[in-house]
Amino acid sequence: MKLTDTYFLTFAALLFTIGAVGLLVRRNVLVMFMCVELMLNAVNVTFVAFSKTLNDISGQAIVFFVLVVAAAEVAVGLAIIVAIFRRRRSGVTADDIDLLKG
């Protein structure tokens, strides 16, 4: 039995679906952020799998840029959550932040 890229792509598809459904189902903003991280990681797995299959190093280089964007997104997103919490002093769920104003 040989490990082909189909295994990794199937795994990534399952992980991406779990993240996407979690993003839609959960209401806690922090958990929604974690689901976004799950989806980004699933995409990273496909990049590395194709990098191995096509024998091309650029797949691994691009994962670096995905990591940088994920880090920037988390930093800004968590700062926004902290700022919202400071203004509202109440629970931070997606339903509380539906007015596009502080």
Partner: protein, 188 residues
Amino acid sequence: MSEVVIFFLMAALALGAALGVVLAKNPVHSALLLVTVLVAIAVLFVVQDAQLLAAVQVIVYAGAIVVLFLFVIMLLGVDEQESLSDPVRIQRPAAILLGVIALAEVLFLTGHHWATGAEKARGALDDGSGGNVERVARSLFTEFLWPFEVTAVLLVAAVIGSVVLARRSNRPTTDDVDESSGEKVSAP
């Protein structure tokens, strides 16, 4: 053979922990299960000959991003109970249905080798010039030099943005006046 065993172990661990991230009531449990997912994916990276990415995955994701999550969870308090009633009642079944449809589509695509690509467009995984780290570094600093510099700008912008957003202003600024007047308006 051992590769296959490691793959199935780590894939099962990652998928189970990912389900835990979504289903856990407590956000702290979600964050800790997220670490499990990330470490399992790092092991899968090693299986795929991406040793540098595995190290970076553990250091950046498990070491920095999840710690940031935990800081914010502790800062905000975790005793908030998430309300299970939904304003849009159909959303949860619809989300699960759409997830199943999307999964079926992607699984259908993975069974077919429609993904074409120019092989070795940017150089092979291992061209005999040192290990994985050197290979990735050469790619990053030659072909991807311009995107690499742009990510530096992106990171600086993100750091400045998060400092400005999360800053607590001590002196009375127009921001505070806006806040108090906003509360007065919203009170009645």
